[in-house]
Amino acid sequence: MTVRVQTAPFDVEAEVAALRGGDARVGAVVTFLGTVRDINDGTAVATLELEHYPGMTEKALEAIVAEAQSRFDVYGVRVVHRVGPLAPTEPIVLVAVTSAHRADAFDACRFVMDFLKTRAPFWKKERTPDGDRWVDARVSDDDADARWG
């Protein structure tokens, strides 16, 4: 399974080991780990609540991975995204990519994250000292998505 959405924590080392799979063609492994910050746009965040749309979210992630695999020369791509309540410093998302060379691994990992941020159906709610609030979409994420043309 290259794509998973789950409430449970994930084990980065195990995910990367499974992706590498002892394949000696692999020369480069790039991973992105997204973690909960305790400050967002200047507001203290106690807990983040992540929601997805079961069925559609998995399909969207699979489409993003397929697009990355068609654009870049990579061997494997894995995406694990958590949902539910998450405290500061907890991992939210892991994207791991293997390739023969570093340029494709970096490009593909970044591409997946940029598209995931703008295309994948996930929504964040922050629990702050002033109450709960849904996070608004960031303009900078749309810009990052637009980079890929």
Binding site: E51, M56, H81, K117, T118, W123, K124, A137
Partner: protein, 92 residues
């Protein structure tokens, strides 16, 4: 195969995240016995007034997916479809 043995005369509506909170429901079974456009469906929902009129107003930022694919207002909704309405995504 849908509709050959048991004709479906409804669509499932799904509301997510902030829109679910604002509209006060997570999903509903909506009667629909013939294809209509997404725009016409939204117009019918806005006619409920209150938060429906406010949240689904033309200028508001939200998206519609039919059977898990984001679509424009001209897309067609058929009986048996799943139609989701949600705010811009903020994942990762």
């Amino acid at each position: 195969m849908e509709g050959t043995q048991h004709p479906v005369a409804t669509v499932r509506l799904v509301f997510l995240a902030r829109l679910r909170d604002a509209l006060g429901r997570q999903d509903e079974t909506y009667p629909l016995d013939r294809p209509i456009s997404v725009g016409a469906l939204l117009e019918a929902l806005r006619a409920r007034g209150g938060p429906w009129e406010r949240e689904l107003a033309a200028g508001r930022a939200y998206k519609v997916a039919v059977n898990h694919e984001v679509v424009a207002a001209g897309a067609v909704v058929r009986p048996g479809d799943e139609v989701a309405v949600f705010p811009p995504v903020t994942g990762g």
